[in-house]
Amino acid sequence: MPLLDVAHLSKRFGGLLAVNDVTFQVEAGQILGVIGPNGAGKSTLFAALTGFVPPSSGQWMLDGKPLQGLSPEAICRAGVVRTFQIMQPFWSMSVLENAMVAAVHRARSRAHAHQLASEALECVGLTAKQHATIGSLTIADKKALEMAKACASGARVVLLDEVMAGLRPSEVDRVVDTILTLRKERQLTFLIVEHLMDAVMALSDEILVLNFGAVLAKGKPSAIQRDPHVLEAYLGVAADA
């Protein structure tokens, strides 16, 4: 049985079908890259899956448990968490406190939240900066903090929305390392929206391509790179040209 099972998910904004009958499955421990041109519905898909945008129709389940209709916080506690394209740290708090807020809902006490947060920070390599203010962090550190929060929340499926955008190559490598570490040590499953093709192709077990809200293709990265429909959507070349 797949860990995350999405069936016929649609989201309509007035006349615009932002997500159009999307169906796909994700296995436990898998890294699924979600790509598509701008406006393909990637972020809307993430927002719908995590309860921030109520879908117009469709179902999705985690481990057989239906998630539709739940609030964002309930979906996170059920096991699906997202990061935001525009990073949303708690600015007035330290790095550690940020991670503690993410851990506290499943902690017995504040001390327990502290412990869970420290473990998450260690996974993403932010232990040395745990007492720093958010303002003093580099962009790469802030993105690492977003991942630490997702990890501290205890969710099993993490939806990363453009977590590598705006980073230098060496920093991208660090994010890739972090994702692989979290998968190995925490058995996390990832859905990654990303525009950096090299990184997403190298990292993902499978790629889901969205175009105008609908699934265009799904498969191994090598197959996706040769898929004529995908090439047409990205490059505007006719499939038979």
């Binding site: 995590t50 921030f52 609030s71 964002p72 916080e73 309930a74 996170c76 506690r77 968490v81 997202r82 990061t83 935001f84 949303q88 740290p89 708690f90 600015w91 007035s92 708090m93 406190e97 503690m100 807020v101 993410a102 506290v104 809902h105 499943r106 902690a107 006490s109 504040r110 939240a113 929060k149 997702a150 501290a152 929340s153 205890g154 969710a155």
Partner: protein, 336 residues
């Protein structure tokens, strides 16, 4: 050094607070009771307003629930206010739960929450005015019994003073316990960025319902206390929206992030308003209110985040400067 200063401060505070009635000055005692009651209601309001960032303009509903429950039960059935207080608090908690259902659950937070609570307080006033059993628009008079412990009446004001002092201590401790616990952490996250907090699993409705219910609980007990102190309640002064604003001002002026904020704010505002009234109340009509308003504006302008926050920032800077001076002096000594 810092620890010893703190102990000295606590001892002085305790001696002043406990010893105040021995001054035998009824004006000071009355002012202190008024200030402490203001501080208490501000602390109650601050649980929702400060910790959760949801401005209630309807805490008078809960204050009224407490005042009317204990008074009605006493007058009509002879039930001791010591029992009536808890009945009122229970009613207030249930009302807060219902109001929370229609506000927090339907995403009526922030400004909408303020508007809804304000409207409900106005409705409460109209409602009580039209219930003859609750005295209608005329209100209820509590029969004077002299000193009667069962009726919660005391000829000596000192007793009321100690009761409200204890209430303030309990409210301040409750606020601190919440702040330092799990709920406080969740509220910090929700207040700062609700979506980001919800995304990582922080439940918004449950936490806000909880502090709102606690706030209502405290407010109602305060309402019962005030009714026993003045021995008279009426809808107009109980539910007036100006009362609701009066009870949130100390927290805004003093600071919402530390228990001492609402208390310091309350004493400052009480002293300012009483002195202005004493000085100009008889001569220039309206001037005391104008002075009060100007002081509030000045304090809020000069101290963003309240007096306590402002002092904390000043102290930190002061200590950093002192530390820097010491380092420079030591380096100079070492090189000499």
């Amino acid at each position: 050094m810092v620890a010893r200063n703190r102990v000295v401060l606590w001892v002085v505070l305790a001696v002043v607070a406990i010893g105040l009635p021995w001054l035998n000055n009824s004006f000071i005692l009355t002012t202190a009771i008024a200030a402490l009651y203001l501080a208490y209601q501000a602390l109650a309001w601050n649980l929702t307003g400060g910790l959760a960032g949801q401005f209630s303009l309807g805490n008078t509903i809960f204050i009224g629930a407490g005042a009317y429950a204990s008074t009605y039960l006493f007058i009509t059935f002879g039930v001791s206010p010591w029992i009536g207080i808890w009945v009122g608090a229970l009613i207030a908690v249930m009302l807060a739960y219902l109001i929370g259902l229609i506000t927090f659950r339907l995403n009526l937070r922030g400004l909408y929450f303020a508007m809804v609570t304000l409207a409900l307080a106005e409705m409460a006033q109209v409602l009580v005015e039209n219930v003859p059993a609750l005295g209608g628009a005329y209100g209820l008079l509590i029969p004077v019994r002299g000193t009667d412990i069962a009726a919660m009446q005391f000829e000596s004001r000192s007793v009321y003073y100690y009761i409200v002092l204890a209430m303030v201590v309990v409210a301040a401790m409750l606020m601190t316990v919440i702040q330092r616990g799990r709920v406080g952490l969740m509220l910090d996250g929700l207040r700062e960025n609700e979506n980001a907090a919800r995304a990582v699993g922080v439940p918004v409705v449950r936490n806000m319902q909880l502090v709102f219910a606690l706030s209502a609980f405290l407010a109602a007990i305060g309402g019962s206390f005030m009714a026993q102190y003045t021995l008279f309640i009426d809808p107009k002064s109980t539910f007036a929206w100006t009362e609701a604003v009066l009870f949130l001002l100390p927290a805004i002026v003093g600071g919402t992030r530390h228990w001492s904020g609402p208390i310091i704010g309350a004493f400052l505002l009480e002293v300012v308003s009483d002195s202005a009234r004493l000085a100009f109340g008889a001569s220039v009509k309206g001037l005391p209110q104008i002075i009060f308003g100007i002081v509030v504006i000045l304090v809020v302008m000069r101290t963003r985040g309240g007096i306590v926050e402002w002092c904390a920032v000043w102290l930190r800077r002061h200590r950093l400067l002192a530390a820097a001076h010491t380092t420079v002096a030591e380096e100079r000594n070492a090189s000499a």
